[in-house]
């Protein structure tokens, strides 16, 4: 399976993502934001980081970069796109995903492990995943997901909420909401479920000695679903 990770000026999880994808068997290529063509890919990843220093709004400038039109075309033709953290912010800024990531409610940069409950596993990203509560890592200042009431209703009606922040035993409550995200939303899909944006970083949880391995479960499962 071929994957491509887009690098923007200020991306800083691009190489972690490269390591993770290769570890689980993807043939990964790094693609510069100023290119206009994507290599043949089964998966495009917009990585975490601080593209363009978060100027204007997180992800807004990256969302207008040269490569993005190819990413939009790829996504609209059904290709799998994964946006993590800043990548999620970029996906909302391009309009591929609904809503927006606002500043965390407590005005703090949050860097810690959290738990998410997988809400919809009828898609390539989570189908047949062994665990429905995953321990992942978050590191962001703008992860507070917000959308209008109408948008929230359509996300819920179409089963587009990918994952909720939850407690270690899977309880979705205020206490386990790290950033004030509406309804504890940690990640969402587009209508067709081929685009996933989420704030938590699975690529940071792929090594037992460094972190945990729930990220490994995510990548192994994704690869299996693509084969």
């Amino acid at each position: 399976m071929n994957s491509s990770v887009i690098i923007f000026p200020g991306s800083n999880c691009d190489r972690d993502m490269d390591v993770a994808l290769k570890k689980f068997g993807f043939k990964n290529k790094m693609v510069w934001h100023d290119d206009d063509k994507l290599p043949q890919s089964d998966l495009i990843v917009l990585p975490g980081g601080f593209s363009y220093g978060d100027y204007l709004r997180c992800g807004s400038i990256a969302g207008k970069s040269k490569i993005i039109q190819s990413v939009i075309d790829f996504a609209n033709s059904g290709g799998l796109v994964l946006g993590i953290c800043n990548g999620f912010q970029i996906l909302t800024e391009t309009g591929l995903l609904k809503g927006v990531l606002q500043q965390n409610k407590n005005i703090e940069f949050i860097c810690k492990n959290i738990f998410v409950k997988v809400n919809n596993s009828e898609n390539k990203f989570f189908e047949n995943i062994d665990k429905d509560v995953l321990e992942l890592h978050i590191a962001h200042n703008e992860g507070n997901y917000f959308c209008t009431e109408d948008e929230l209703k359509s996300l819920e009606d179409n089963n587009q909420i990918a994952a909720y922040y939850c407690s270690s035993d899977g309880k979705v409550d205020d206490k386990s909401n790290p950033n004030g995200a509406i309804k504890n939303i940690a990640g969402i899909f587009n209508e067709k479920k081929n685009i996933l944006g989420m704030m938590p970083h699975p690529e940071r949880m792929i090594d037992q000695s460094l972190s945990g391995e729930d990220g490994s479960i995510f990548f192994e499962n994704l690869l299996k679903n693509l084969k």
């Binding site: 800024e93 927006v100 005005i107 959308c147």
Partner: protein, 77 residues
């Protein structure tokens, strides 16, 4: 022609920075400050002499980049 743009959060959208500023002002003794909403201001020099045309460009600029209309409003002045 110079165009000024102000981008503000829509009413009802949480503004934690504005809230922190308001609380700080209250703590500094400005007890009469009831609410603060923080926004962004842009000075844009558009190569256009016709005010109408410049403002139309500015409007497009706001819609396409400067404001995220899910949470923000813009004003061209």
């Amino acid at each position: 022609m110079k165009i000024k743009v102000i981008v503000t959060l829509k009413s009802g959208v949480l503004d934690p920075q504005g809230k922190a500023i308001q609380q700080t002002l209250n703590g500094m003794g400005f007890a009469n400050v009831k609410d603060v909403r923080q926004g962004k201001y842009f000075d844009i020099d558009i190569d256009e002499n016709d005010e109408q045309k410049a403002k139309l460009s500015a409007e497009e600029i706001c819609k396409k980049l400067l404001a995220n209309q899910v949470i923000e409003d813009f004003k061209i002045i």
